[in-house]
Structures are given as structure tokens and as C-alpha cells.
């Protein structure tokens, strides 16, 4: 639920990057952080293990400044993708206005991706939301790797809803901002 504070003229939107462990969620936020105009970004907060796996979440606030009299803010989050953190994922999802599902395109990750989308759908139902009527985009990440499945295969099996999907190589920034623009606009359209 976006916070639209008429009294204080503020709008807050929360965008969550979801997906399996090691698929590149944190890498997306890190790229945004280091490449976006520093005036727009706040501090990036990462609660991670010593080995850089997300333990709780990453958090990156972006502030568009005042647009038409409203201070518009997007709060980007990642969930921890590793299986054991499932309750944490649910906690981070809570209050999301939009979701980016980051797919690890490698063939050997296909099944895990499928399970992760099923989990997301279940959590959204639990939160009283229907993914079919919710700002939601897909990112096909790790397109640079040799075992990446063809996009049309990913699209057929992982994108049943035919939501906007973007090819990416998050580690070099390819597709990162295209994905962010798409989800942000989708969130604003649903305000």
C-alpha cells in the first residue's frame, strides 16, 4: 500500500526484488546505487552475511524530488533468496507496491525459478493481493552465461501472465534501469 500523505504531500512506493538465491537481486540495487545521480539516492543498506548473501534485505531509497507538488519516493528492497529465509521474504514483501521477479536464466536454475514464483504467488495471496492485478515485471538475468535458456522458453514457462520482461546482465548493468523504469511506472499507474 503506497503511502499517499495528502497532509504532508508525500508519496512512498515500495518495490521488492524477488527471486532465488544468487540470481542477482542485490547486484541490481548495487548497480542502481552506483550509477544513479547521487542526489536522488539515499544510503543503501544491506543486511548480509559475511559472504555477502542477503540475510535480511537490501534497501535503497530513491527520491524523485517534488513532482507536481508531491514528494515522490521509491523504496527498493531485495529479499534474501536462499531457501531457509522464507519467512523473511514474506516480511519484506509486506507492503510492496510493485515486484520485480529476477530470474537466473541458467538452465540448471530453471526448476528453482519455477518454485520461487509459486512461492511468491502464495505469499501474495496470503497478503491479500493477486499478482495478476499488481505491478509486476520480470527480469531475465545472467543473459551472458553460456547455459542461459532462450528468452522464448523463459517467457513461456515463467511468464504465464505475460507481464513486461527485460533481458539483463545485472553485473554489468545491462537491463537494470529498463527494469526499474518499467516497475516504477507501473506502480505510479496503479496509485
Amino acid at each position: 500500500m503506497a503511502l499517499i500523505n495528502i497532509a504532508t504531500h508525500e508519496i512512498h512506493c515500495k518495490i521488492v526484488y524477488y527471486g532465488i538465491g544468487y540470481c542477482g537481486k542485490t547486484t541490481n540495487l548495487q548497480y542502481v546505487y552506483k550509477s544513479i545521480n547521487p542526489a536522488i539516492r539515499g544510503e543503501m543498506l544491506s543486511i548480509a552475511t559475511e559472504t555477502e548473501r542477503t540475510l535480511f534485505f537490501d534497501f535503497l531509497p530513491l527520491d524523485l524530488g517534488t513532482v507536481h507538488g508531491f514528494r515522490t519516493r521509491f523504496h527498493l528492497y531485495t529479499v534474501p533468496g536462499q531457501i531457509l529465509y522464507e519467512r523473511t521474504r514474506l516480511a519484506v514483501l509486506n507492503g510492496a507496491d510493485g515486484i520485480v521477479f529476477v530470474v537466473d536464466s541458467q538452465a540448471e536454475k530453471f526448476e528453482e525459478n519455477v518454485q520461487s514464483i509459486a512461492e511468491l504467488e502464495m505469499y501474495m495471496r496470503r497478503l491479500g493481493k493477486d499478482l495478476g492485478h499488481f505491478p509486476f515485471v520480470m527480469q531475465w538475468n545472467k543473459r551472458d552465461l553460456p547455459s542461459a535458456l532462450p528468452v522464448h522458453v523463459l517467457d513461456r514457462y515463467l511468464n504465464r501472465r505475460r507481464v513486461p520482461a527485460f533481458e539483463a546482465v545485472a553485473s554489468s548493468g545491462v537491463g537494470v534501469f529498463a527494469t526499474l523504469r518499467a516497475i516504477s511506472k507501473s506502480v505510479i499507474a496503479q496509485l
Binding site: L62, H68, A91
Partner: protein, 164 residues
């Protein structure tokens, strides 16, 4: 008994405080979020755990906080700003808003303490700003609505700013 603070909180500032507290309540799934004056006065109180005895609770929490602070001081702790009370069912997290207010979050074990810490830090930052406005006794007014023009302006801004 401590003296009442001289702060005068306008309707407008109270509105801002309530927004911060309700957001915190929602995002942490806490049962209660309170803003207290350090004297123990309840400035604002949010939550489904409706507290009949909210007034005494405020006083006790503020008392417990300053007591713990004294303990910390005796132990040579320099910057004591929070206490975490872990209960069987409910946990209480209390944190200082500058030297004036206390933000209190009551939550159960389905909520992660890390989330409470991070989000209460954010809320505290917001409340610090409200406090500054309260102290300066200023208020601002604007009128606007979310309309087609607003949406298209935001879209243009997104295209402009969300890029490398």
C-alpha cells in the same frame, strides 16, 4: 514528577507524527507503536493492542528507559539510545528521538527484531524532523491531488532520473 514539556504540537504536526507511527506499525506488523515525551506523556498511540492503561504504560516505559540509561551510564556506556525488552509473547523496543521523545514499538515473535530496528531508525529520523518543526513552531500548507498531470509528470521524471 517531571515537569511537562513546553512543546506545542499543532494539528498539522500531529498529523505527520500519526503518519509515521501508522507506517511503522504497518511495516513491522507491530501490535502497538507509541510516541512518548521523555516525561512519559503519550503524544500519540497507534495499534490494535488497545491499551486501556496507556497513560501508566507511557510513564512506566519512560521510567524504564531513563533507569536503563542510568545503568548504562554507571557501566560507562557512552551513547545509550535504545532498549529491547524480550518477553514471552511481546517484545518492546524503545528508542530515543533526540533527547526529547521516545518511540516505542510493541511486537510479537512473528516480527523480526532486525526489521524493527531498521524501520524504527527510519521512523526516528522522520520524527526528529517533526520535532524540529514543532520546536520552530512552523507549518506548511499546500494543495494538490494525484491526477493525470501528476502521473505523467512522474513518468517523465522517472525517464529522466532512472538511468545510468
Amino acid at each position: 514528577m517531571e515537569q511537562l514539556s513546553n512543546l506545542v504540537i499543532s494539528d498539522h504536526e500531529l498529523e505527520a507524527i500519526r503518519a509515521t507511527l501508522s507506517k511503522l506499525l504497518h511495516d513491522t506488523s507491530a501490535s502497538t507503536v507509541m510516541l512518548l515525551d521523555k516525561s512519559g506523556q503519550v503524544i500519540s498511540n497507534f495499534g490494535n493492542g488497545v491499551r486501556r492503561n496507556v497513560t501508566s504504560l507511557g510513564a512506566l516505559l519512560a521510567g524504564a528507559f531513563s533507569s536503563s540509561r542510568q545503568v548504562a551510564e554507571l557501566l560507562g556506556e557512552k551513547d545509550f539510545r535504545t532498549i529491547f525488552q524480550q518477553g514471552m509473547h511481546e517484545n518492546i523496543y524503545t528508542t530515543l528521538v533526540e533527547e526529547q521523545w521516545l518511540l516505542v514499538i510493541v511486537f510479537d515473535k512473528l516480527t523480526h527484531i532486525g526489521l524493527v530496528k531498521v524501520l524504527s531508525k527510519k521512523a526516528t529520523d522522520e520524527l526528529v524532523r517533526v520535532l524540529a518543526r514543532v520546536k520552530a513552531d512552523t507549518s506548511r500548507r499546500k494543495t494538490s491531488v494525484i491526477n493525470v498531470e501528476f502521473r505523467s509528470s512522474v513518468e517523465d521524471t522517472i525517464d529522466l532520473l532512472f538511468r545510468d
